[in-house]
């Protein structure tokens, strides 16, 4: 009985300590971004004495920040659209069209998911040089799309399998073409899966570093994540300005996450629940 009471008393404090540790670095980023450099020098922990947005105007104005932001948006939208579209077609074939070797393709996706991207980087670099797509949006969107496809096909195939075959057979009797039954029957039933996929994939592309470091070296083509590392070294002494840059880079992620928290968590746990 004594032991049980002790665990009962400890539970809440343990959770609060963990929560505070999880939040502290984020708190530090936020409050520092609102401080003047003098304010920060005098006070590293507390709330800003005179909250200011000047760091944000400095971050946005003083460099190519807005261009980098735009590059990231463009790459994210392009790769997410391409991967969802291509994965939709492939998953439909694997789940519903009796393709010979469907099991092989499905298993192949789970294997491809764990191949380290760095392995592909060197040959792909040579390939992109050869076809003249270094420092191009198209080249990087192609690579991102490829890296996103295994998970996307895996997730959508699992989801499409749940759609009853009888619905498709009924549509076929009514004379619907294969493509039409995908668009008119499967798609409307799969909105949750697509929301999940868009969120998970968009976060991945937005946060990606290795591919963008290697393939987008031209200053005007850099993504925001690569830009931030440049930005940091330029503003080493102006920590509030760097933090403002980090905050701006994080806002789109937070919006996506808070908007689709439920779907997002479903997507991340999908792999675990559909192991085989």
């Amino acid at each position: 009985v004594r032991i049980r009471r002790w665990t009962g008393i400890l539970k809440q404090p343990v959770l609060w300590v963990i929560t505070l540790l999880a939040l502290f670095p984020i708190y530090f980023m936020l409050v520092t971004s609102l401080k003047t450099p003098e304010d920060y020098a005098a006070n590293h922990f507390g709330l800003p004495a005179h909250p200011t947005l000047s760091n944000f105007t400095e971050a946005l104005g003083g460099s190519k920040f807005i261009i980098w932001f735009g590059n990231s948006v463009l790459l994210t939208v392009g790769s997410v659209l391409a991967s969802c579209l291509i994965a939709m077609l492939a998953a439909f074939a694997l789940a519903k069209l009796n393709v010979p070797g469907a099991g092989f393709w499905y298993n192949l996706m789970t294997v491809l998911m764990v191949i380290p991207p760095v392995v592909m980087v060197i040959p792909l670099f040579q390939f992109m040089v050869n076809i003249g797509l270094i420092n191009s949006y198209q080249g990087v969107i192609l690579i991102y799309t490829g890296l996103l496809l295994p998970f996307s096909i895996f997730l959508l195939t699992n989801f499409f399998r749940e759609v009853p075959d009888s619905l498709l057979e009924a549509a076929a009797i009514d004379g619907a073409t294969t493509f039409k039954s995908l668009v008119e029957i499967i798609l409307p039933l799969s909105t949750p899966a697509f929301v999940t996929l868009v969120i998970v994939n968009a976060l991945w592309v937005w946060n990606e570093l290795l591919i963008s470091v290697v393939f987008l070296q031209n200053d005007m083509m850099k993504t925001l994540m690569v830009g931030l590392t440049v930005f940091q070294s330029r503003y080493t002494l102006n920590i509030p300005a760097t933090m403002a840059g980090l905050v701006i880079a994080t806002i789109p992620i937070l919006v996506l996450y808070i908007g689709g928290q439920k779907f997002f968590i479903e997507g991340l746990t999908a792999g675990a629940n559909k192991g085989e």
């Binding site: 665990t7 074939a93 040959p123 192991g275």
Partner: protein
């Protein structure tokens, strides 16, 4: 026949992209690993790159560091299970706690790396806090001293990856039938025993999944942390395979050697996948 032709037409775009992004590079990197690149042409050199690789202390250091990072996985798993169980009881503010713990997981690694880079500076915020509360002895040079840099890196990775474990395990626990817990309670099991005999067995499958995912993360998904926080230093103390490959190929212009290391990394990942398949198979039997 018609359906299979249509089927492959639907698969075709995916196959084309996967061939370009996965198959072609994997074939090529194996060829590169037996070649050397000079003046714009590749020439065959047999196992030379592999020999150089195995005698390069920095390569050995890189793989040792990756394996050292694997030590974070059991800690993540145990703490994750523990926190998931605490949250499962849905005490006050459990949603707030879940949100807070998961937040680090969605942040970008470069963002996390830059924030912690400042926090862990020798005269940074964390040491200042230690000095203020009279624990100045704990104010070490977290990232600047090769003795501590790996531990600091592990702390940061732990901070970021923990939320995934908690959310994953909690989602599983919430789908466990409540009767199992009631039965255990009726048998008079205490808190620890109940969760040891009910929650942990129910989590076995997701734990396996999580451990595999995290092992792969530690081997081949930590580039961002070291690139931003340490650049592999000081004195190569935080060199990892990915950074070694990147630097060797793109900064030291030795793509042949980098490819050999890439193949080594590929083999290690392959072993992990094989283990996963075997574990899953044993599980479903």
């Amino acid at each position: 026949l018609r359906t299979s032709v249509t089927g492959y037409l639907f698969l075709l775009p995916a196959i084309v992209v996967l061939v370009i992004v996965f198959l072609y590079p994997i074939v090529q990197i194996i060829r590169y690993s037996f070649s050397t690149y000079q003046m714009g042409t590749w020439s065959f050199v047999g196992f030379q790159n592999y020999r150089i690789m195995l005698h390069d202390p920095i390569f050995l250091r890189a793989f040792r560091d990756n394996f050292e990072l694997l030590l974070v996985v059991p800690v993540l798993t145990v703490v994750g299970v523990f926190l998931a169980i605490l949250l499962y009881e849905r005490g006050r503010f459990w949603r707030t706690h879940r949100f807070a713990v998961f937040l680090p997981y969605i942040l970008a690694i470069p963002v996390v790396g830059i924030i912690f880079g400042y926090l862990f500076q020798y005269n940074g915020v964390i040491n200042e806090a230690f000095r203020t509360i009279g624990l100045g002895a704990l104010a070490i040079d977290w990232l600047g001293n090769p003795k501590y840099s790996m531990t600091t890196l592990m702390l940061v990775i732990f901070w970021k990856e923990l939320g995934f474990a908690v959310v994953l395990f909690l989602a599983r626990l919430l789908s466990v039938p409540a009767e199992l817990y009631e039965a255990a309670r009726l048998d008079g099991a205490g808190w620890w025993r109940m969760h040891w005999h009910v929650s942990v067995p129910q989590l076995k499958r997701v734990i396996t999944f999580y451990v595999i995912i995290e092992m792969i993360t530690m081997m081949s998904w930590v580039f961002g942390y070291v690139y931003v926080m340490t650049g592999g230093g000081p004195a190569n103390s935080t060199m990892v395979a990915e950074l070694y490959i990147y630097q060797t190929a793109f900064q030291f212009n030795n793509p042949g050697l980098a490819s050999a290391v890439g193949v080594a990394l590929l083999i290690v990942s392959g072993v992990f996948v094989a283990v996963q398949f075997l574990l899953n198979r044993g599980d479903s039997r």
